[in-house]
């Protein structure tokens, strides 16, 4: 039911990507991490996991709720579903703001029993509705602090137009907040070298141009999804980043929006030369699988950094799942 799409190995990290339309997620996990959201695609992972398949489960419910009642509805459902796929009562992290990234990550790591940090433990992380710093931070932590973890990352693709005003369909955030390094992904910049920024572009062109304008990196490259989650998405992304592409004129890499492993392979090749003669900074503004691919590339030697532009707020609307769901099997 699951088709293996890509496979890659580098610096002791092995990863394979799979996609399916309807397949179940087989196997058992020592730890399962889920995120409550106003997007219905957040329900997919716990729906596809088998009963009692996660020994310790954690659900994060951010403090920020919505007036339209999505969270109220989906929080209840995800709690029910995660209870079914957990062998113990799920642990809940709540009442903390989505912006307290380090605080919430520390809370998650504290819940996990000490014994689970040992060798060869199996981790399941749902990325579908998790903000990027959370799943990337966890991935980096596991690489740094846990011996030989086996990680399954899950991502449900999306259909953005389905429940939105067409004008707003491709706009997910409002305003520029603070720029931060992703937790444990601050890299090891060499002061002798210039910076190369690799922008992983999404639909929000103001964020790419705004970031470029602030940091004025010495060199710029960009990644665009192609194929996208939907056929029209690559052109949409190009149109929405037109000013950035015209003004900055980066070298462009195209890669599958859903395939984190393909993205990792291509990024490694794309920045091979830059790694030796510049500091690398990834700027993930696009699909989550691209950010996972960039993160894997950063974790190989630990030198690139990953930057995150915190939005002032997120636009609240339901986002249903797209045609495919993906999982990435990662061994470190």
């Amino acid at each position: 039911m699951w088709d293996m799409v890509s496979e890659y190995q580098s610096h002791g990290i092995t990863a394979r990507s799979f996609k399916t339309k309807e397949g179940k997620i087989e196997g058992d996990f020592d730890i399962g991490i889920f995120f409550g959201s106003y997007e219905s695609r957040t329900l997919e992972s716990s729906k596809l996991l088998g009963a009692n398949s996660c020994k310790t489960s954690i659900i994060i419910f951010f403090m920020e709720t919505d007036k339209r009642g999505f969270r109220k509805k989906y929080d209840k459902e995800i709690l029910k579903q995660v209870s079914i796929c957990s062998s113990r009562e799920p642990n809940v992290v709540s009442n903390r703001s989505i912006n307290n990234v380090q605080d919430i990550l520390n809370a998650i790591l504290k819940i996990i029993p000490f014994s689970e940090y040992s060798e060869d433990k199996k981790w399941f992380i749902d990325t579908s509705s998790s903000p990027k710093p959370y799943f990337l931070g966890l991935l980096a932590y596991l690489r740094d602090k846990v011996f030989s973890p086996r990680i399954t990352m899950f991502n449900s693709t999306a259909q953005y137009e389905k429940s939105n005003d067409p004008q707003e369909a491709f706009s997910f955030t409002e305003g520029f907040g603070q720029y931060i390094w992703m937790p444990w992904l601050w890299g090891r910049p060499d002061p002798r070298l210039p910076w190369t920024y690799l922008f992983l572009l999404g639909f929000e062109g103001d964020r790419s141009l705004g970031t470029y304008d602030i940091f004025e990196p010495d060199r710029v490259k960009a990644v665009i999804s192609d194929p996208g989650y939907q056929e029209n998405y690559p052109n949409e992304a190009k149109a929405r980043n037109r000013q950035f592409l015209e003004e900055v004129c980066p070298e462009i890499l195209y890669t599958n929006a859903g395939d984190a492993v393909e993205t990792w392979v291509k990024i490694d090749k794309f920045i091979a030369e830059d790694r030796s003669n510049s500091n690398i900074c990834f700027v993930p503004l696009g699909p989550k699988p691209h950010s996972i691919g960039a993160c894997l590339s950063a974790l190989t030697d630990g030198s690139p950094a990953i930057m995150y532009l915190m939005p002032k707020s997120h636009k609240i609307r339901d986002v249903p799942r797209g045609e495919f769901v993906w999982r990435y099997e990662i061994k470190m």
């Binding site: 799409v5 890509s6 496979e7 380090q102 409002e174 305003g175 520029f176 907040g177 603070q178 720029y179 931060i180 390094w181 601050w186 090891r188 910049p189 060499d190 002061p191 002798r192 103001d206 141009l209 705004g210 470029y212 304008d213 602030i214 940091f215 004025e216 010495d218 060199r219 710029v220 000013q243 592409l245 015209e246 003004e247 900055v248 004129c249 980066p250 070298e251 462009i252 890499l253 195209y254 890669t255 393909e262 392979v265 291509k266 794309f270 930057m307 002032k312």
Partner: protein, 668 residues
């Protein structure tokens, strides 16, 4: 499985030589060496101040060792004297740009400020020692000037190791070489950064690294250099730090302490956005401020109107020459010399003749009012006669009329007339042009190289952005661009206005107050206010108002923060003087609001009430409109007060406001 086709595709967009950022990425940077460089490479610490894109980073990069020894991808251009000076001057400069994303992480480090300052100072010293050792290693590969015997190198290495690490923490190096020392030093500053970002406790970091006083390690390096390279006793070691405006006050104090305590051959050269140098204080009670130890250099204009107090010094690079050279260098990177050898951007865009372009606008106009006015201006109805459009308009509106004293001798009368006319025209002609265009519904004919220079306000980056828009409007190819010289005014105006609109769209529109305002909406409000100030009847009060003036103490809290944000992102300009703050929009936005392209600080509008500024910045649109109206009424009131009695003025304001807008203006 993966298809390993070549997925890397170069940009499909056509070549525009002025696109900012493009040249640096594709061909390596070309930096212009100004003749003033001799003033920069002195032993006295120096801080470059300027707006975004004014060439601060370029100035610092020019002073680096790799530019001097021609080993960087940066190429230089400039007068033969300047280039010769750069090559001959004896200096080793090492450059580092403040990582502004690291600054808040240092700031969040959960230790007392004193500890944070000590480790920040240690980190910076180690980082620069890393860069200096790297410079020595690299220069020795290409020049024998820095050659040292094994024994001397060992002695320097030992002495620096001793300075860096406490005895019980000192690494034992089998190979006492610069190379091995550099690796240890690089690892040390990297680890300090990692520990700080991981928010470790003071105890933990103390167990790993000991503290070095701000600048003391670099001082030690300088001493060793002077000692072991006696032939290079007259050399300077330049510590170049870019973008100090990102630093917090407590961090800047650490660096200022190093500056105040530095000695030959070490010297510091910083850069900061004008008006945002965090502080001149040091950590040292004996030398509490650095003002006496440091020079401030405005970039790039002759006298930088955005600098203040001691920082406002004469000098700076001649901007028009610099701009012309840079535009030409851009063209040279993309096109063959034969096409552009004689290209001069002054001639390409031509001069700006206000009267001529206004006349053309009126002649081309289909508006009856405009044609009537043209007749009025052409038939000598205007007092003083002559064809000058702005003079005729000012005369028709009775704005700042003047009369010559009677019974003067012809010679004296002419002298006084020239004197008055000079003051009169300088002050009022441009704003008359702006107001006239608004009255007849024209877009002001922004055109000419001087106008583009004014709009860029000393920012090469903005200049290139405007030029790139003119290039696009002119057809987007070299043949079209240089076909007619000067480029027709309409094309230039379209490009300039589009550049302003595109820049405006980039201003951060994220909501910053409950009423829904953003930096973008604040800029919009200021733009509307200044646009009104430069229209009739509000020009009766003062000409060319394009800034506001508020009391220093009102710029606190939210107001201070948003002004800082506006300056940091380059949309606002600030000037401080006599306890007041002057705030203006960056002139590149002027064409969007039909504001004069000239210096915005000529006639600041004083805001007399703290609440007005709060409302203007953070009120709802409706409240902000009322605040603007209030300011505009205040202008008229001041005008009337000057020319009428106070009572008459009040009564006019209160009872017959319509008079101001509908009937004939009040004569002086």
């Amino acid at each position: 499985m993966l298809n390993h086709q070549d997925d890397i595709i170069s940009s499909r967009f056509e070549m525009n030589p002025y696109f900012y950022g493009r040249s640096e990425q594709e061909h390596g940077q070309i930096l212009f060496v100004p003749n003033r460089i001799a003033k920069w490479i002195t032993r006295k610490p120096l801080c470059f101040l300027g707006v975004r894109g004014s060439g601060k980073s370029s100035a610092l990069k020019l002073l680096t060792w790799d530019v001097k020894w021609n080993v960087s991808s940066i190429k230089t251009t400039g007068s033969p004297e300047a280039l010769r000076f750069l090559q001959n001057f004896k200096h080793i400069g090492v450059y580092y740009r403040v990582e502004d994303i690291d600054v808040p992480l240092w700031d969040r480090w959960n230790v007392i400020e004193d500890t944070a300052q000590r480790y920040f100072g240690t980190y910076i010293d180690l980082l620069y020692l890393d860069l200096l050792l790297d410079a020595l290693i690299c220069i020795r590969r290409i020049s024998r000037s820095l050659f040292l015997g094994r024994v001397e190198e060992k002695e320097i290495t030992k002495s620096l190791l001793k300075e860096c690490f406490r005895a019980d923490m000192r690494p034992r190096l089998l190979d006492l070489s610069f190379m091995a020392l550099r690796e240890i030093i690089a690892d040390a500053h990297q680890t300090i950064r990692q520990l700080v970002l991981q928010d470790v406790s003071e105890e933990e970091i103390k167990q790993t690294y000991s503290v070095i006083g701000p600048g003391s390690l670099l001082k030690k390096f300088g001493d060793q250099f002077a000692n072991y390279y006696p032939k290079m006793a007259d050399w300077a070691i330049l510590i170049l730090l870019d973008d100090c405006n990102f630093l917090k006050k407590w961090q800047m104090k650490v660096l200022n302490t190093a500056v105040a305590g530095c000695r030959k051959p070490i010297t510091y050269k910083f850069s900061s956005l004008a008006g945002l140098y965090p502080t001149c204080d040091t950590m040292n009670d004996d030398r509490p401020v650095i003002l006496d130890y440091m020079d401030f250099e405005p970039l790039p204009s002759h006298s930088n109107s955005f600098a203040t107090g001691k920082t406002r010094v004469k000098g700076g690079t001649q901007y028009p020459n610099l701009a012309n050279r840079i535009c030409k260098a851009r063209m040279e990177q993309h096109f063959s010399k034969e096409h552009i050898e004689k290209l001069d951007h002054n001639k390409l865009l031509g001069p700006f003749n206000l009267e001529k372009v206004l006349m053309k606008k009126l002649v081309d106009s289909e508006s009856d009012d405009a044609r009537d006015f043209l007749d009025y201006a052409s038939t000598g109805k205007a007092e003083g006669e002559g064809p000058a459009i702005t003079k005729a308009w000012l005369s028709k509106k009775s704005v700042r009329e003047y009369k010559l004293p009677i019974d003067l001798e012809e010679k004296e009368a002419k002298r006084i007339e020239r004197q008055i006319a000079s003051r009169y025209s300088k002050k009022w002609n441009h704003v008359a042009g702006m107001a006239l265009c608004k009255e007849y519904g024209f877009i002001f004919p922004y055109s000419g190289f001087r106008v583009v220079l004014n709009l860029s306000a000393g920012s090469i980056r903005e200049l290139l952005r405007v030029m790139s828009m003119i290039w696009e409007e002119a057809g987007g190819s070299l043949s079209e661009f240089i076909k007619v010289q000067p480029i027709p005014q309409e094309i230039q105006t379209r490009g300039i206005v589009k550049a302003a609109e595109a820049r405006f769209e980039l201003i951060d529109s994220s909501i910053i107050s409950e009423s829904g305002t953003s930096l973008q909406s604040i800029c919009n409000r200021l733009g509307q206010l200044f646009s009104s100030c430069q229209s009739y009847p509000y020009i009766l009060t003062t000409a060319e108002t394009a800034s506001i003036s508020i009391r220093n103490e009102w710029a606190e809290g939210d107001v201070k923060e948003i002004i800082r944000k506006g300056i940091g992102s380059g949309w606002l300009l600030k000037r401080e003087e006599n306890g007041r703050i002057f705030v203006a929009l960056h002139p590149v936005l002027s064409p969007k609001f039909q504001i004069s392209f000239r210096n915005p600080f000529y006639y600041p509008e004083p805001i007399s009430n703290k609440e007005i500024i709060k409302t203007l910045f953070f009120g709802s649109d409706q409240e902000a409109n009322l605040a603007i109206k209030n300011v505009l009424e205040g202008r008229i009131y001041r005008y009337l007060k000057r020319h009428k009695t106070k009572l008459e003025a009040s009564s006019i304001i209160n009872e017959k406001q319509g008079f101001l807008f509908n009937s004939n203006p009040i004569k002086e």
